[in-house]
């Protein structure tokens, strides 16, 4: 406990059990706020939401066995999206390990493939040491989840805690952050020679808190900027040079620009297959500069010409300085700017407006933007609603958009919103939920009520697991299979049963006003918004196709 406090931990999400009873006993006297969640997965995602909103390490506790295995999805999610988190699990007593003891699960073994690192204590004196090491590893370099598994007898032992005086120094862990100066110089020169450059940015820019530095680089020659779904907000969507998101559900302007670019500068982005589509046809004309803090990301999916390993926050200003020093002629980019502008004019995001009060999902996102003045922290579940939000909300600031991209975990939104609200109590926090997703972790409404966490859930209720339905419609001959949600539950009643406020909106004319009302209402609110059931999310690049073959 003392070591956690020494690390500045103020909030912990979790559920107690036999194996972590001693830890929970210590919580009684600790000056920490423990948020008692209703399912360990919720606790794990709450820790993620907390970390993504604030940049601080999120912490979740679970007991041994089922408590620990319930955390697994959240741990995997944190790994995929590089979220700085520390998970502390109870374990059976040391002498029972390996005997299939009551509530024993080899959580260390189970999570090996998706932790940044993990520890199992074998001596009580290791516990504070491991805590400090975990808080060193989780947020530095490429962030990720660290697991500490503590057998019950060890967490029970009394030890003297001597506060750490030295910073943690691990022989096998020295992330390099500065970027190789020579490589940066070469990159600047390549950029100076480019005629069709694009800055392809990602979650790494958010993690690096390098929005300002990105804007500086982009401003050096008004370079066009696009971003993955993970990087939204790092570059303002209202900016003139903004192309919109790229990838499977990105804008045509962004994807066409990638397709025709002669130089792509990837910054904290990892060439995910939702971006590259068909690898052999990805950005066929381009050379690549890749700035990433994780050397293993370089040339993992796409062979890179100029790699720069380092922290975007440190590398970008150096690159901007080198570039400016070259004093290139900005007019060489005029034709490219004109081309991009033409794409933007010709292919804006668009949808057929609803008639007779029908609420189009895209309209719902636009209404949400107006009701929140474009400045809420928005968490999301996974599906069509997630992509519409990414397309239509227009994030202007980083850490305002919190979603599960890599693992794509349905049920992420509500617990993540809880975590974000705890981290940023002064901000409006909205969970944009899908009806298929929300039910997966709806138990956390009880947490919101009991712990007085006033998140607002705007449910995009299309009656379907819409994203899967869309694929069945488009690629499987409209043979719908297991995608209808049916009439259950009655969301308003469900919200009320939990002690939250439930509201429903079925008419586009009322929507913005109801959202405003939900935002003004004290405590947690669930607003059930009935949207067009079979709207498709366009444009899209069909799986395995190339960018120029976008449909819709």
């Amino acid at each position: 406990m003392e070591s956690l406090k020494a690390e500045g931990v103020e909030h912990i999400f979790g559920i107690p059990g036999g194996a972590n009873l001693p830890t929970y006993d210590a919580l009684v006297d600790a000056q920490l706020r423990h948020i008692q969640v209703r399912h360990e997965q919720g606790g794990g995602h709450a820790a993620e939401g907390y970390a993504k909103a604030s940049g601080r390490v999120g912490v979740a506790f679970a007991t041994s066995g089922p408590g620990a295995t319930n955390l697994v999805t959240a741990i995997a999610d944190a790994m995929m999206d590089s979220v700085p988190t520390v998970f502390v699990t109870g374990q059976v007593r040391t002498e029972l390990i390996g005997t299939d003891g009551f509530q024993e699960a080899d959580i260390l073994g189970a999570t090996l493939p998706f932790v940044k690192h993990s520890f199992q204590a074998t001596d009580p004196r290791q516990i504070p040491e491991y805590v400090h090491e975990a808080f060193h590893i989780a947020p530095t370099g490429r962030p990720g989840p660290v697991l500490i598994d503590i057998p019950q007898d060890l967490s029970r032992a009394e030890i003297e805690y001597a506060p750490r005086t030295e910073p943690v120094d691990l022989a096998g862990y020295k992330p390099s952050t500065g970027g190789n100066v020579k490589q940066i110089r070469i990159a600047a020169k390549a950029l100076a020679n480019a005629r069709r450059p694009v800055l392809y940015t990602g979650g790494g820019v958010v993690n690096a808190n390098a929005s300002e530095e990105l804007r500086e680089l982009a401003g050096a020659d008004r370079f066009p900027v696009t971003s993955t779904v993970m990087g939204l907000g790092a570059f303002p969507a209202s900016h003139q040079q903004w192309l919109g998101m790229l990838g499977m559900h990105g804008t045509r302007a962004a994807n066409y620009a990638m397709d025709e670019a002669d130089l792509i500068v990837a910054i904290g982005a990892r060439f995910d297959d939702r971006i590259t589509g068909k690898l052999s046809e990805f950005a066929p004309a381009a050379k690549f500069i890749h700035i990433d803090i994780d050397p293993a990301e370089i040339s993992k999916n796409i062979p890179v010409h100029i790699p720069i390993v380092g922290d975007a926050k440190q590398v970008l200003p150096k690159l901007t300085r080198e570039y400016r020093a070259l004093q290139t002629d900005p007019s060489r980019l005029d034709a490219w700017r004109k081309q991009i502008h033409a794409w933007q004019e010709e292919y804006p995001l668009h949808y057929e407006p609803g008639e007779d009060g029908e609420i189009k999902p895209q309209f719902m996102i636009e209404a949400m933007h107006r009701a929140t003045e474009g400045d809420a922290i928005v968490t999301s579940d996974v599906g069509q609603h997630q992509m519409w939000a990414a397309q239509y909300y227009g994030f202007d600031r980083p850490r305002r958009w919190i979603n599960s991209g890599g693992l794509g975990t349905m049920g992420f939104g509500l617990p993540a919103a809880m975590g974000a609200k705890i981290a940023c109590p002064g901000e409006a926090v909205v969970c944009l939920a899908g009806d298929g997703s929300l039910i997966m972790n709806c138990q956390e409404l009880a947490t919101c009520v009991n712990e007085e966490i006033p998140v607002k859930v705007f449910l995009m209720n299309n009656g379907y697991m819409g994203m899967v339905r869309q694929w069945q419609e488009l690629f499987w001959d409209r043979r719908y299979s297991a995608v209808e949600m049916g009439p259950s539950p009655d969301w308003v009643k469900l919200a009320e049963a939990f002690g939250a406020t439930g509201m429903r909106c079925e008419d586009a004319a009322d929507l913005e006003e109801m959202m405003a009302k939900a935002l003004e209402t004290d405590g947690p609110v669930l607003l059930d918004v009935r949207v067009s059931p079979e709207e498709n999310c366009f444009p899209m690049i069909p799986a395995g196709a190339a960018a120029r073959d976008m449909v819709g």
């Binding site: 690192h117 691990l170 130089l263 370089i298």
Partner: protein
């Protein structure tokens, strides 16, 4: 520490880097690699390495683990095929394991590599002399003899052991045990 792959061109000249001239190096070397990996002697380290290989679809050909002169550090020596695995990617992934301290992709010319193997062969009276002769040629040792079998210890490069195996197999190979290669850099390094 992080191996940076990519263009290796001099900065400065020419004044601007011409995009057409940028190249990426090939990812596959086409030869066998011996990786010598120093790891912290902590529980689960081997599971982390093995798990990483399994998950990323890297195939280990041989694997040998043992102590070093420092009791806190162990050495893992493994061989894998650079014709199918991008070795750069393999070593970078290994480096991400916190308990991995140092990785050396051993250069063939600078490296002495050895492996030990034991062969149990059936030895009737009539071929016993021939087997002993093979053993002598290969500077192998006969370490056990029974009425119907002989056990032979061979030390050498993987190629030598494979050559011995080819010779002995027709005589009725009952069982073979190999340690996997270990390697050390030659004197001057």
């Amino acid at each position: 520490m992080c191996s940076v792959v990519g263009v290796m061109m001099e900065a400065g000249t020419p004044e601007l880097v011409k995009l057409e001239e940028l190249r990426v190096p090939g990812q596959l070397s086409g030869r066998k690699h011996i990786l010598s990996i120093l790891v912290e002697n902590k529980p689960g380290v081997l599971a982390r390495i093995a798990g990483l290989f399994a998950r990323r679809g890297f195939n280990i050909d041989t694997l040998a683990v043992g102590p070093t002169d420092d009791p806190d550090i162990s050495r893992v020596t493994l061989t894998l095929d650079g014709a199918v695995h991008p070795i750069g990617q393999v070593t970078k992934q290994l480096h991400k394991l916190i308990n991995v301290l140092k990785i050396r992709d051993m250069e063939p010319e600078e490296t002495v590599a050895r492996e030990m193997a034991m062969f149990k062969v059936s030895s009737a009276v009539e071929n016993r002399a021939e087997i002993i002769q093979f053993a002598e040629i290969f500077r192998a040792k006969i370490i056990d003899v029974s009425r119907r079998t002989m056990t032979i210890e061979v030390t050498g490069s993987a190629e030598k052991i494979e050559a011995f195996e080819r010779m002995i197999r027709p005589h009725g190979l009952i069982e073979m045990v190999r340690t996997g290669e270990i390697a050390i850099v030659r004197g001057s390094a």
